[in-house]
Structures are given as structure tokens and as C-alpha cells.
């Protein structure tokens, strides 16, 4: 598996899109730090970008990478190696290269700015952790969708739809439910519902860390009130890990029975 991972990673890190993705984050972070200078504020602004962009890019890369390497995957399948190792190798190579782009693009400017000595170093770390989690989750989801669909257009559409659902539609439905049933106690429902959306979870995690109650929204506030900051973060982290493992399990399950 490590062998496949190594070469997928090299292949992807050298692609034009990896450079563009890294450069975008570099530029954004540098300009935000330069304009604002308040690390906590920069982390909050970057959060909003990363929460939308990291899943979107991971989704698109995941689908594109799978379909583009379809023929090469066939060659790999003819080699003396387990199927599982091929697909996990490719998936991890993809997720790691996306994560590295994000870590470099966002991390470098902060380090140069001198984040290590400041009080907000853990806020910054949390931002990176969430970004990496989102890259892993959405590239696994899109890889899984691409594996399930031979038809490229359908696979691409479905993957984008999943991203759209978690990034936009879910929140809309959630708010709708909250306002419709506002006469009932909704705390448990709210906690439960946010566990089912990795993007919401990530937002809650960062806001808990930043401790900005004004931005926390309903779920953030509820989680802080009922679980406390520490337990709330632990639960959110655990849920995010499940979000990585579930599609990864799906990848290996589909790959096992698939005809190529």
C-alpha cells in the first residue's frame, strides 16, 4: 500500500492543480495576516474559506483522480498485489497531497508571522486539523462515489451534489426544522443533526476552540452548554474520525466486488 501511496502522492504533488491550490491558500493567508494582523480574526476568516473550499476541492480532485487513473489502475490490478492496497494507496496519496497543499499554503505564512510564540497557536492548529480532516473525508466520499459509478458524468454530478448538500442544503434544512419545531426542546436533535454533517462539525470544533459565542450559532452554543468545551471537542473529533473511516470502509467494500 505504501508503494502505491508514494507514487500517487508524487504524481499528484507535481500536478498543476496542486500548485494552484497551494498558491491560492498562500496568497489568501498572507493577505489576511497582512491586512488584519489579529491571529484570532484571521483564523475565523480562514475558517469560513476552508470549510467551503477544502471539501469542494477534495471532492473534485477525488472524482477526477479516480477517472483519470482508471486505465493505470487496471495495470496495477494485474500486478501481484491486493486490491485493497491499490485503492487505499491511491486514496491516501490523494488525501495526503491535498492536506500538504493546505498545510503549506496556510501554515507557512502563519509560521513566518510568528504564530509559535503567540497565545493563539492552538486556534491555528485546530484550523489545520479541521482542514486535514475535511480533505480526508471528502476525498474518501468522492473516491467512493467514483468507484460506484462507471459513468463519469453521473459520478461527477453526484459527488458535487454531496458537497452541495453538506455545504449548503443541510444548513437550510436544519434551520427550517429548528424554526418549524421551535416550540419543542431541540437540543438533542441539534447535537445529533450536526454530528451528521462533517462541515458543521468542523465549524463547531473551531468555534469552540476560538470561544467566539457570537459566531457559534445554535448548535455550537448547545454543544458548549450541554457537553462543555472539552467533551464537546472530544465528541466532535470522534465523529469526524468516523466520517473518515466510514467512506474508507466503503471504498474497500466496493473495490472488493467490482469488475474492472
Amino acid at each position: 500500500m505504501l508503494k502505491i501511496l508514494k507514487y500517487s502522492f508524487f504524481d499528484l504533488m507535481r500536478s498543476r492543480w496542486a500548485y494552484i491550490y497551494t498558491a491560492f491558500f498562500l496568497l489568501l493567508t498572507v493577505s489576511l495576516l497582512w491586512l488584519s494582523g489579529d491571529i484570532a480574526k484571521v483564523v475565523a476568516s480562514l475558517m469560513n474559506v476552508i470549510l467551503v473550499l477544502a471539501p469542494l476541492i477534495a471532492t473534485m480532485f477525488g472524482v477526477m483522480y479516480y477517472y483519470n487513473s482508471r486505465e493505470f489502475t487496471e495495470l496495477l490490478l494485474s500486478q501481484p498485489i491486493r486490491r485493497r492496497h491499490i485503492f487505499f494507496g491511491q486514496y491516501l496519496g490523494l488525501a495526503l497531497s491535498l492536506s500538504l497543499s493546505l498545510l503549506l499554503g496556510v501554515g507557512l505564512p502563519f509560521v513566518v508571522y510568528g504564530v509559535w510564540g503567540s497565545a493563539e497557536v492552538w486556534d491555528f492548529m485546530m484550523l489545520l486539523v479541521v482542514g486535514v480532516f475535511l480533505s480526508f473525508i471528502f476525498s474518501a466520499l468522492s473516491f467512493f462515489i467514483a468507484l460506484r459509478n462507471e459513468n463519469r458524468i453521473k459520478g461527477f454530478g453526484l459527488a458535487i451534489l454531496v458537497w452541495l448538500f453538506f455545504a449548503v442544503i443541510y444548513d437550510g434544512l436544519f434551520l427550517l426544522a429548528l424554526s418549524l419545531f421551535s416550540d419543542y426542546p431541540l437540543e438533542n436533535f441539534a447535537i445529533g443533526a450536526s454530528l451528521f454533517n462533517p462541515i458543521d462539525l468542523s465549524r463547531v470544533l473551531i468555534l469552540l476552540k476560538l470561544d467566539i459565542s457570537a459566531l457559534m450559532g445554535y448548535t455550537g452554543a448547545v454543544i458548549q452548554k450541554f457537553l462543555g468545551t472539552a467533551l464537546g471537542m472530544a465528541v466532535s473529533m470522534a465523529a469526524l474520525s468516523v466520517w473518515v473511516l466510514l467512506p474508507a470502509w466503503g471504498i474497500q467494500h466496493v473495490a472488493k466486488h467490482k469488475d474492472f
Binding site: 508503494k3 482508471r70 487496471e74 495495470l75
Partner: protein
């Protein structure tokens, strides 16, 4: 070496292989022929474990291949479409395969020279032309000394010089006592190279035997015409064919 027993495979509702029984036990070059969609590639992919049969089994050197992967160490494969990761260099791709197989390729240097690939070793695969990629594909497929070589449309996109080299290479491998399976649509290539022909039609084996016996059975001098006869659904002229025809006539009466 390879025994296929009553192999069935369908994709959705579309049956692709329906009851293929076949064995390759002597070394030599076997051409797998048939019109598009007749199941040639699916047959090859089943042997390699890429397509999972619905029914029937495949034995490789006497062992069932279902769920196995070690046996693939003994097979070299040339895929039909030569597409590799765009941002890897040629030398890195070959190193990757060496890494996966955990075995030093015996013939890599010689093959790189044979197909004139030295100037391309440091080039990225995405920047190579289709023909050059096919040459890389050939190097990848022939660089090990495995007893079985499976080739899916080996002549795709090759220039005449490379084609002659490929034919020489196939001869050499055959002399070493290897089993070579090749699908192709190019009849000249078959007539020149193949020891035996397997003709697939709609998921059934229509004919298996030497080129001469195929021509004799259909009373034709060229392979192309004999195959045209099969496709037009005409019965052969072998003893077997006569009996079938006699039975058919008898039934009609």
C-alpha cells in the same frame, strides 16, 4: 497452465461470457479473436482476476485463482490502453512496477534500447505521444521473465519498426517455452504469429485449434475469409460440421 471451466459472466443483464470452457496447456502463441463485444477482454480480465466470474472457475497451474493474488507474479500483462500517471517520469513508472513486484526486471535495459526509449526516460508520461506510451507499455510488460504473458491488442499505435521488434520479441518469448495470449483484430499479425486461434462469438467459444485446421474446416485459403464465414453463420466443412448439417436437415424434414 491455465484451465477455464464453464465460465459465465454478465454485466447487468447483458451476458458477456456464457459457458466458456478452455485450456491452454502447451506453450505457444494463442490469438484470441472475435468481433467487438464478443468477450475477449472480459476473458483476459477474468484470468487476471480483474473481472469476477459469476459462475465457473479458472485454474492457474492447477490452483483456483478466486480471491488469490500471488499467482499474478507469474503473469505479465499488456493493457489495451497505455495511459499512465501524467506527472511521473518513464523511469519512475518502471521503478514503481519493480517496487510492486519486488523483483529485479531481467530485460529492462535491453528493451529500453530495443524500442529506443533512452531519450524519454526522464520525460513525464503525460508529455509522450500515444505510440511512445505504447512502447513504454511494452517494456513494462516484457521486462520480467514470467511463464505467461497476456497481451491486449499489442499492435495498437506502433510504427512499422516497433512492430517488427515486437514480433521478434514474441518469437523469442515463445522459444523460451512461454504461454502467450493475445487479442487482436489484425489478421496478418495472427497469420504470421499465432500457433493457435481461439474464436469467441457472443460469449461462446466458436473455434479453437490451429490456423490450418480453421482454414480447412471452412475450406478457405485465407484466415480473413474463414472468419468472415464464421461471422456469417455458415457451417464448416469438417466431419463435425457435416454431421451437424445432416442432423439439422433431418430435423427439418
Amino acid at each position: 497452465m491455465i484451465t477455464i471451466d464453464n465460465l459465465h459472466k454478465s454485466f447487468g443483464r447483458q451476458p458477456v461470457l456464457s459457458g466458456v470452457t478452455l485450456s491452454f496447456d502447451r506453450p505457444g502463441i494463442y490469438a484470441i479473436l472475435g468481433p467487438n463485444g464478443s468477450g475477449k477482454t472480459t476473458l483476459i480480465k477474468s484470468i487476471l482476476g480483474m473481472a469476477i466470474p459469476d459462475k465457473g472457475q479458472i485454474l492457474f497451474q492447477g490452483k483456483d485463482i478466486r480471491g488469490q493474488w500471488h499467482y499474478r507474479r507469474q503473469i505479465d500483462y499488456l493493457p489495451q490502453i497505455a495511459r499512465f500517471p501524467d506527472n511521473l517520469r518513464v523511469s519512475e513508472l518502471l521503478a514503481m512496477i519493480e517496487d510492486i513486484r519486488e523483483e529485479k526486471p531481467q530485460a529492462m535495459g535491453r528493451l529500453i534500447e530495443l524500442f529506443g526509449l533512452q531519450p524519454y526516460l526522464d520525460k513525464r508520461l503525460g508529455n509522450l505521444s500515444g505510440g511512445t506510451r505504447q512502447k513504454v507499455n511494452l517494456v513494462q510488460a516484457f521486462m520480467y521473465d514470467s511463464p505467461v504473458i497476456i497481451l491486449d491488442e499489442p499492435t495498437n499505435g506502433l510504427d512499422p519498426v516497433a512492430l517488427i521488434r515486437l514480433k521478434g520479441l514474441l518469437h523469442e518469448e515463445k522459444e523460451k517455452g512461454k504461454l502467450l495470449l493475445a487479442t487482436t483484430h489484425i489478421m496478418n499479425f495472427v497469420e504470421e504469429m499465432a500457433d493457435e486461434v481461439v474464436f469467441l462469438l457472443e460469449g461462446h467459444i466458436h473455434f479453437k485449434g490451429s490456423l490450418d485446421s480453421l482454414k480447412r474446416q471452412y475450406n478457405e485459403t485465407s484466415l480473413e475469409r474463414a472468419i468472415a464465414r464464421i461471422l456469417q453463420g455458415e457451417p464448416g466443412f469438417s466431419a463435425n460440421g457435416h454431421i451437424k448439417q445432416a442432423v439439422r436437415l433431418a430435423v427439418r424434414r
